[in-house]
């Protein structure tokens, strides 16, 4: 087996594809690339199928050594990237020779980068996906949900060098807005909240808590009083915004539990989940109501033709 040898796994590097669908009724969550936008571009740059496996690099520190000749693409967060001794660009492809070292520094804007390889990463598939979900001990190189470790070999095929491609700057992720505006499709128990609770929710500038990960982002702000809200556990969609008893919203993300019993105001629009994936704890956000009509129309318009 050859491909890329992990010299240093960095903070937290995970194999991801589009995610694990069709097994939610067993309690198996979706997992999958957190920033599907940057992930999608990484595969498109390599001319890969849209579900090809990539490496999701959190914050940075990953160092790989190529064992074969191929082409890679890197998108997502602004991380200084070096191939051997040269600093190289993000949002484009790079031809790689056996022996080349690819080293990621630490993110200066955003926090998740995606590395795709021509032909996709080869890893065993479990429940139709190679996505790593640490909490469920599923996926990744060993199928046991482990992040990349020093000495691992991330397998791929060698591939002939082709013309370099890049993504026009206007399509790169945008970072560092002072307060990110996050569109939420209103739904679930939204109609059962009072006007006062809803106005407070949309008027608050929330701060992402340090206790946030791929499972969910906990938000800090003035608590919303939700006493007396009892309900039965029910299916949770990607991006659902729930209000537990302490009145602090939690956005449930790619590694979320599949069912839960807290009331929910709706779900974050997928294009803004990609935005959340690039926001570190401490960043601020504000919710904006979004209708299902607006959301579905925008999805149709943004779909690759």
């Amino acid at each position: 087996m050859t491909g890329f040898k992990v010299i240093n796994p960095g903070m937290h590097s995970l194999l991801q594809d589009k995610g694990r669908m069709g097994f939610h009724s067993l309690g198996v969550t979706s997992g999958g690339a957190f920033d599907q936008y940057s992930f999608g571009w990484a595969n498109r740059l390599c001319l890969n199928p849209e579900n090809a496996g990539c490496i999701e690099i959190l914050v940075g520190g990953l160092i790989l050594e190529a064992q074969l000749s191929t082409q890679i693409a890197i998108t997502g967060a602004d991380m200084p990237i070096k191939i051997n001794d040269s600093i190289v660009e993000n949002w484009c492809t790079h031809n790689i020779q056996a022996g080349d070292k690819i080293a990621f520094g630490y993110a200066t804007a955003g926090c998740r980068a995606y590395l795709a390889v021509a032909g996709g990463i080869q890893a065993p598939v479990i429940f139709n996906s190679l996505s790593t979900v640490v909490r469920e001990s599923l996926g990744g190189l060993t199928k046991l949900g482990k992040p990349l470790e020093k000495g691992d070999i991330v397998a791929c095929s060698s591939s002939s060098h082709s013309t370099e491609r890049s993504v026009p700057a206007k399509y790169h992720c945008e970072f560092d807005t002072d307060i990110a505006e996050i569109r939420m499709v209103t739904g679930y128990q939204y109609e059962q909240f009072s006007q006062q609770q809803i106005s407070q929710f949309f008027a608050t500038d929330y701060v992402i808590s340090p206790n946030s990960d791929r499972m969910g982002y906990r938000l800090q702000g003035p608590a919303i009083d939700i006493t007396g809200c009892e309900m039965l556990s029910e299916g949770i969609s990607l991006g659902a915004v729930q209000l537990p008893a302490d009145g602090m919203p939690i956005i449930l993300l790619c590694d979320r539990q599949t069912i839960g019993g807290y009331p929910k105001l709706g779900s974050v629009f997928s294009q803004d989940i990609a935005k959340l994936a690039q926001m570190m704890p401490g960043k601020k956000l504000r919710f904006k109501p979004f209708s299902i009509e607006q959301a579905q129309q925008l999805l149709q318009e943004s779909a690759p033709k």
Binding site: M21, F23, H24, I126, Y188, L232, S237, I259, Q296
Partner: protein, 239 residues
Amino acid sequence: MSIGYPKVVIASENSTIVYFSERPCSQTSDQIAYTANVLKIRLGEELIDLIPSYHSLLVIYDPLKIGFQKIEQEIRDTINGWKANNQPQQSRTVELPVYYSPESGPDLQRIADHSGLSIDQVIELHQQTKYTVYAMGFAPGFAYLGEVDERIAMPRLATPRHNVPQGAVAIADRQTAIYPSQSPGGWNIVGLCPIRLFNAEKQPHTPMQVGDKIRFISIDRDEFIQLGGSDKKLTGAIT
């Protein structure tokens, strides 16, 4: 069907949640199972996933292939089909062996003290009910079963355990469940099941699914070991 139900509510840009009744009951479970099965066939590739639960069904679809109005219509037509037939679904009964004892069920005494019953009576009441699998979640293969006899209903532990072993059969309020893998947990443990309840590598991945009926069969220590239960789980594994 209760008044005002089914309710079809938007959950996200690509999912809709259907509420079948105010409270869960066996008719609701049958209806959810029927709707899930029929939607799989009707929608084909337009459907991405389904999450059945106590009184609801989350329908996740591909919004590039079908819009929210059309999906609501498909859901309503499907449920109307159930009304017309009004045939209860054939639910399976799955029997699962449980070794009930103070060594495998460290909270039996707590429940006995709380209820004023003997440990034997607690065990008897736990195994005489035929439970319904209302939902799966929390962890892969974790099935929420209901409802336990109210005499042995028991609140969760004030401080959850760090280590609940795989196979632990436990009670929280009127719910009961088996932990499919070792994990932290705050439910009251009454026994251990030697059968593996989640296997990612083998079909079927779990012996039960939402809508099934579960009957617990009491076994002794020797049978527990013979059926693959580990001695190790009985000594000091529950912390």
